[in-house]
Subunit: 210 residues, 2 copies
Amino acid sequence: MNKQISKRTLSRLPVYLSLLQEKEREGVEYISATTIANLLDLNHVQVRKDLSCASSAGRPKVGYETKVLISDLQNFLDYNNTKNAVIIGAGDLGKALLGYGGFTSYGLNIVAAFDTNPEICGTLIKNKPIYNAEKIEELVKEQNIDIGIITTPAQFAQATCDRLVKGGVKAIWNFAPTSLTVPKHIIVQNENMATSLAVLSNKLNESLKE
Amino acid sequence: MNKQISKRTLSRLPVYLSLLQEKEREGVEYISATTIANLLDLNHVQVRKDLSCASSAGRPKVGYETKVLISDLQNFLDYNNTKNAVIIGAGDLGKALLGYGGFTSYGLNIVAAFDTNPEICGTLIKNKPIYNAEKIEELVKEQNIDIGIITTPAQFAQATCDRLVKGGVKAIWNFAPTSLTVPKHIIVQNENMATSLAVLSNKLNESLKE
């Protein structure tokens, strides 16, 4: 069923999951699609449809058992099947990602980072080793890394990407503000801050006109 | 025409813009929707439709004049109408955003950051002043700040948000991994890294099955 799911639904599932985890911590044992919809400002029909991709646990009147829905979503999103990743570029953004504790619960294990700055190569940042960028290919191969996360300046992103691909990564998560050229079989997910900013600005302009 | 544009189209416009700026730097004077579509791995009909929301400059056979299309997109996205923003939380992510030079070209002017750490309050980071978080309301009012960017840990995000709202911001860009409650007239854009990660993981799983 994974094949048919739309990108939009897919990108809402982690949002549901994080809300449910919040509610579980607050002691909420059952939750309805309508409640979820209200809390997230979504339509309840949409929420029901989205959740039905990942779980068949919803019951009329009672709603979903929070714990079961969380586990169904985690399974569906494959968060229990951990993938290894490395970060290239241990600047502020790289450090922020290294220090973000939440990734392991999303099935992402950041193993190490690479940088070209000799002063930090060989040190630990946020308890993760920082290696010299010259060793990308070697270490990616050795440690069977699936995902390369690029947080370098734009002008170094393509060369970095090429090294990751040579090392054998299957996917690139690109935070550098530039487009990358990769072989057909490599997956690229671009993280473009400007995209969110455009949506925000547009909503803001509309609200100022009202 | 702004009213009818879909969120999906809207979030692609900055991607076109950044590609066009790259091409302009490379000296490309004219570019076709088909070329843009190929470079971004999108459908050319989609690209033509998206661009028609912002520009009527495309001509058969010739395509778009790069410079004109860039300027049309910038106007449409209101990037020439600068909005002031502050960042709350000068940790690694806050610093990464403070140091990101690209925001001004997207119409976002980050004026200052706030933190609770007395060691950095009163200093400059990336040439921007860091103020004590106690002063959020006062300074947001005084300096007419439109957007508050929250990069605090999750547990402080709601209190931070409340202060920003009291100070008079119109929009919140939330990077903290938690949901926020705001008055109806306030716009919230949540930046959820897990969302992108889910899309990436799902594509990766599908490709491994093939």
